[in-house]
């Protein structure tokens, strides 16, 4: 019998992702180019607007003149910069990030920049170039970094710094990867356009490998409040999370543990909760048995007298900014938006925002054009499986709002929260969770009602004019027909001509309608000919 001994070994996270690049969205050169731009742009935005800075972002993709499969992506921002001591690991150590906290950020995996570096290293082999100047710093720092994949640690190939004589702060990143601009082009351009819609307070310029330049200028200086970190809500932890919290807490008693580590739990609430379920408030949280942890977990889930999850740490875009963004990019004749009140999904707060744009430069289409966002990130793939698509195509009867398709109608749906119920691994479509579906539906109905009011007013003015024309246009044919009956001599109708009948009929219409619309002072103003 052939028999071999198994060799066991551990691999580093970097090596894992190197071997399985597709799970981070780097499945082929086209997708990798798109994914790289996204990761870098989202980092740039998180470094600016999340810290109250009006973003200035410059994106550039260049094709290598010799190796035409090589693209160099550079993104420059005016954000808070990265402290120089963190730079090597932020770009050279997988699973190292500032995003592993409970806060609404654009990326959630925190894999982003590292995967770009890893993929570039795998396909082209050049180090990533990073230039950064933290806010308040008087120096500029520059690095060239690669990743030691076996060890999951940065290799610094070059390091420099020099005094700063401008007031620039922020980060510049440049990386070379194997890409496919031809197949990624339309997605990347659309991604940046949709990003611009929800960041009308940003200057964004994008230079493509073809030399085209897309410029989205700042149209407002208002910004949404930055998101803040928050503690978990008791309804939002799972069993394993609770176990970890119990082990790492600084609290000495179960009572303190609840008050310190959770949001929405005051001292009084905590006492009432513990006594209801028969826990010892003074017990050291580190000493709970497996059975006790499980009981505590169940109780936390069940108890419904905690305050609802807070949402003030979330950062919605805001109705005003949505309207400004839609107006600037789509140039419609009508625009409206609404930010809904927060709701709770599995212990996490969620805010839904909806915008609508109609007419103007929007091209009519058979269904509404849908712009989807989750935590300010545009979602481009899998539109048809998204709950927002279901709402606008199935739940809403648009004819009720006076819209007949094809119509020039665009809908924007933004969902923000610390936990978004995505449908698949790709995080490109949101599942139809009832609470979210109903929020989106109510939001869409809100803005659709405003559209309806607008459309009704516009249409009323046309009605009167139509009515007058409907009557007047038939006068010549009626007069001609009636004249046939008087063509033979008859005392009662002597001298009656078609012209006389026409003028009599026109008088009747004037009497009926009252004031005739301007431009209609005789039958000939309406009727050109009858043949």
């Amino acid at each position: 019998m052939a028999m071999s001994v198994e060799k066991f070994k551990a691999i580093s996270p970097a090596e894992f992702f190197y071997r399985n690049k597709e799970i981070a969205g780097f499945s082929n050169p086209a997708r990798a180019l798109y994914q790289s731009v996204r990761e870098l742009v989202e980092n740039a935005l998180d470094a600016t607007d999340a810290h109250g800075i009006l973003p200035d972002i410059e994106i550039r993709i260049d094709r290598d003149k010799v190796k035409t499969y090589v693209y160099r992506i550079s993104v420059k921002d005016n954000g808070i910069g990265i402290p120089p001591q963190y730079v090597p690991e932020a770009f050279g150590k997988v699973l190292f990030s500032s995003k592993y906290v409970l806060r609404q950020t654009r990326g959630m995996f925190g894999l982003g920049a590292k995967m770009v570096v890893l993929y570039g290293q795998m396909t082209v082999g050049e180090p990533v170039e990073v230039i950064t100047s933290p806010i308040g710093s008087r120096r500029i720092y520059a690095f060239k970094i690669m990743i030691d994949i076996k060890e999951n640690k940065p290799v610094i190939l070059h390091r420099a710094s020099w005094p700063k004589n401008s007031d620039w702060h922020g980060t510049f990143v440049k990386v070379a990867i194997e890409g496919d601009w031809g197949r990624a082009k339309s997605r990347i351009i659309e991604y940046i356009r949709r990003t611009a819609i929800v960041t009308p307070y940003a200057n964004i310029t994008f230079r493509t490998p073809d030399g085209d330049v897309y410029i989205y200028r700042r149209v407002t200086k208002n910004m949404p409040p930055p998101p803040r970190e928050t503690k978990p809500h008791p309804h939002g932890v799972d069993l394993e999370m609770l176990r970890m919290m119990l082990r790492s807490t600084n609290a000495k008693t179960l009572l303190d543990f609840l008050v310190m580590e959770f949001q929405g739990v005051g001292k009084v609430t905590a006492e009432r909760f513990l006594s209801r379920y028969g826990f010892d408030p003074g017990k050291d949280p580190r000493t709970l048995s497996q059975a006790e942890i499980e009981a505590l977990y169940k109780a936390l889930r069940e108890y419904n007298e905690f305050r609802a999850p807070r949402s003030d740490h979330l950062s919605p875009i805001g109705a005003e900014l949505i309207k400004i963004g839609l107006q600037a990019i789509l140039q419609p004749e009508f625009v409206e938006a609404v930010t809904r009140k927060p709701v709770v999904y599995e212990g996490h707060p969620i805010i839904v925002e909806v915008g609508i744009a109609f007419g103007g430069a929007i091209q009519p289409s058979e269904t509404p054009i849908l712009f989807r966002y989750a935590n300010k990130i545009p979602l481009l793939y899998d539109e048809k499986t998204d709950v927002a698509w279901k709402v606008i195509t199935e739940n809403i009867d648009w004819s009720y709002y006076g819209v007949q398709f094809p119509a020039p109608l665009a809908i924007l749906v933004h969902i923000c929260g610390t936990k978004i119920p995505y449908k698949g691994v790709g995080k490109e479509s949101v599942a139809d969770v009832p609470v979210i579906e109903s929020e989106i539906e109510n939001g869409v109905r809100h803005v659709a009602r405003a559209l309806k009011t607008y459309l009704i007013k516009k249409r009323k003015e046309e009605e009167l004019q139509k009515k007058a024309i409907t009557l007047v246009k038939y006068i010549p044919e009626i007069a001609r027909s009636l004249a046939v009956f008087v063509s033979k001599p008859n005392p009662a109708t002597n001298g009656v001509t078609q012209e006389l009948l026409e003028s009599k009929l026109f008088e009747l219409v004037k009497m009926k309608i009252g004031e005739l619309p301007k431009g209609i002072s005789s039958v000939r103003d309406v009727v050109l000919s009858v043949e």
Binding site: L471, R480, S481, L482, V486, E507, V530
Partner: protein, 390 residues
């Protein structure tokens, strides 16, 4: 040859009467316009809700509801225009000694109105686009003026044929319907102008199908059984219906209708007997309430255990002759069940057998069993034993 001789004197008289009546009605409207009053027509409604089934007379009649077609009503303005337009065309045709068809009328009145719409664009609208529209206003005029189209000398194609031992006057001729050889007399589109001279027959047999008519005629059916033999060649047209009605009403001849055993055949019978719901105003003149449905009935095919009636077909014949009913047949049968005059015990039995068996049969299947069977067994015994539906 002078104009006078080309058309019959009968037509001349009819024409003069129609001219007067149409003119009178529409001059009233002209006068209203001249007085500055709202021009309107009060027209009896031709809707289902204003159609009444008169159980005693067994007729569909128009009720007393009228609707107001006013020029100044935006929803009615186009129809108003179409109505006076149609009236003017009919009037001109009458005056000019013409015999228009409804298709002619459609063409004569099809004009294009060019006008500016509320956005200032020049657009075109036809006075009517399809004959459906001109036909509808023609019907309005028929009830508004109180004259059927034939009385206004509007002609139409005509499929009905007749043979039998009788003499009639049509136009300026006398025609002997028993001297048609192997051919037949094609009924004129205006049968009210026919004069019955003498008749030697005991009943009228109306057959749905022309080919069956040809067979019975050729085999001498009408001679042998002293019948007037008529075919509608399918769905009967107005003239055939009017002709049959007059044979019944004026000559007192019983009418037997022979159709396929299917909902379409029943419907043909229904049109002879009652008329059509949408044209109930014609029923008073065109329908023959006394017409009897001779067959082919479902109980002829399947027998009737209740009355111990034996079927006319053997099991094997049934199997070979029967056609499976289509969905449209079933649907039509279910519709017929809603008609008042199909709500008699015998008809309910007929329709229920059909719905249960989902089978239909053509008259030809009986001829397939032998022309002698059809002519000398089936028809005579059905009449003799009064095995028909009234």
């Amino acid at each position: 040859m002078s104009e006078r001789k080309l058309t019959s004197s009968v037509d001349m008289k009819a024409r003069q009467r129609a001219v007067e009546m149409v003119r009178r009605r529409f001059l009233e409207i002209v006068e209203k316009v001249l007085r500055g009053e709202e021009p309107r027509m009060l027209i009896p409604k031709r809707t289902l809700s204003n159609t009444i089934y008169d159980k005693d007379r067994k007729l569909l009649l128009l009720g007393s509801e009228v609707f107001d077609r006013s020029f100044l009503d935006v929803r009615e303005a186009r129809k108003f225009m179409q109505t006076v337009l149609m009236a003017s065309i009919i009037y001109e045709a009458l005056v000019n000694n013409e015999y228009p068809t409804i298709r002619d009328l459609y063409y004569r009145g099809k004009h294009t109105i060019k006008y500016r719409d509320h956005r200032g664009r020049a657009v075109e609208e036809n006075t009517w686009d399809e004959q459906r529209e001109s036909d509808a206003v023609l019907r309005d005029i028929e009830v508004f003026v109180g004259l059927l189209r034939e009385e206004m000398l509007i002609l139409s194609k005509e499929k009905g044929k007749v043979v039998g031992d009788m003499r009639i006057r049509s136009g300026d001729d006398v025609i002997d319907l028993s001297k048609m050889g192997h051919g037949a007399y094609a009924i004129e589109p205006t049968p009210d102008l026919i004069e019955f001279i003498d008749v030697n027959a005991e009943f009228v047999l109306v057959v749905e199908k022309d080919a069956v008519f040809q067979q019975l005629h050729r085999a001498g059916f009408w001679k042998k059984y002293r019948a007037i033999l008529i075919t509608s060649a399918g769905q009967p047209d107005r003239a055939t219906r009017r002709f049959v009605r007059r044979l019944n009403e004026e000559l007192g001849l019983p009418i037997y209708v022979l159709t396929d055993a299917d909902p379409y055949g029943w419907y043909i019978y229904s049109v002879f007997k009652i008329g059509s719901i949408t044209l109930s105003y014609e029923s008073e003149r065109l329908a023959t309430p006394n017409a009897k449905f001779l067959g082919v009935s479902m109980t002829d095919i399947f027998g009737d255990p209740e009355t111990k009636k034996k079927p006319y077909l053997t099991e094997t014949e049934r199997k070979n002759f029967i056609i499976k009913a289509k969905k449209t047949d079933i649907k039509r049968a279910q519709e017929l069940m809603n008609y008042e005059w199909f709500k008699t015990p015998k008809w309910i039995k007929e329709i229920n057998i059909f719905l249960k068996k989902q089978s239909k049969l053509e008259i030809e299947a009986l001829a397939g069993k032998g022309l002698k069977f059809l002519m000398d067994v089936y028809i005579p015994s059905k009449i003799q034993t009064q095995d028909f539906i009234d």
